[in-house]
Amino acid sequence: MDQFAVKVFVRLRPSVLDPAGEATKSASRKLGAEGIKSLRIGKMIEVNIEGNGENEVREKIDLLCDRLFANTVIEDYEYSLEKL
């Protein structure tokens, strides 16, 4: 069995308003940080997983992302995978 470290990034789709991102952007400006054009908040999920090779693990992660980690009505996802 191979071990993999997977980092999944879940982001609100560009068409979905992100009020938490907007509030943080506004606070950033109050801190004095100039030049922020946009700020959007997502989630990062770290998974350590084992399986028979990268393809099998990718299949599992695809399923998890599509059915659980992200709601594809409002969110996009991508992930990176590193063999341990």
Partner: protein
């Protein structure tokens, strides 16, 4: 109809289950039965309410974990048989997460948890959930949510409008919902999801009875 029983689903974190049960039993004399989310036996209930609250602490997304409970798995057959399912607030979120209703519910535009009475236009009579014999009827129901902004893509919105699936629209949109949507039904009309709480408007002494009709319509065939 004497034995008609409404199942009220209890998830870890549900907090309107008793309110729903009280409104049905105390105000409408309709028998209820609590259904623990791990049960998949729906044989002795005739309709189901998914109540409000914070199932599984709203972890990941509201309703995202509840969707995988044995009870929600069993709900598919229940809905296909034509029996009625009402999802209130967190129950609405669970119905969208599990695909019984289209779209999703996301954080309110102003980021506030909004607890207020709102005026709602009854838009569609599909499923008979609202007593809208008049051309246009407005009701007042309480809302209490942080993540009640209905969102869907433009194709879905068109389908909702064309097929008369929008049940309720806010008169003064409190949370930024697309097209002021407060509640929708499935195509058949036997599933209704809404953010307002009809069970909190069933007695004059607590501010109104506009929720009675919707709860009462659970017993419709």
């Amino acid at each position: 109809m004497d034995n008609f029983t409404v199942g009220v689903v209890v998830f870890p974190g549900s907090n309107c289950d008793r309110d729903v049960s009280w409104a049905l039993e105390g105000c409408l004399d309709i028998r209820t039965k609590y259904l623990w989310h791990e049960s998949s036996d729906l044989s002795d209930v005739d309709a189901i309410v998914l109540p409000g609250g914070f199932s599984y602490g709203d972890y990941l997304r509201c309703g995202a974990i509840a969707r995988f409970s044995p009870l929600i798995n069993a709900l598919d057959e229940f809905v296909k048989s034509g029996k009625r399912v009402l999802g209130i607030c967190n129950g609405f979120q669970i119905l969208t997460e599990s695909g019984f209703l289209p779209g999703a519910l996301v954080a309110n535009k102003n980021l506030n948890f909004i607890c207020d009475d709102v005026e709602l236009d009854i838009v569609s009579s599909k499923g008979g959930w609202f007593n809208n014999v008049d051309e246009k009827q407005t009701i007042k129901l309480p809302i209490a949510h942080g993540e009640g902004r209905y969102h869907c893509d433009s194709d879905t919105l068109k389908k909702l409008i064309d097929n008369e699936l929008i049940a309720l629209r806010y008169k003064n949109n409190p949370n930024g919902s697309s097209f002021d949507i407060a509640g929708i039904t499935n195509e058949k009309g036997n599933v209704l999801g809404l953010m307002p709480h009809p069970e909190r408007a069933c007695d004059e002494t607590i501010g109104g009875t506009d929720g009675l009709f919707t709860l009462k319509s659970l017993i419709l065939k």
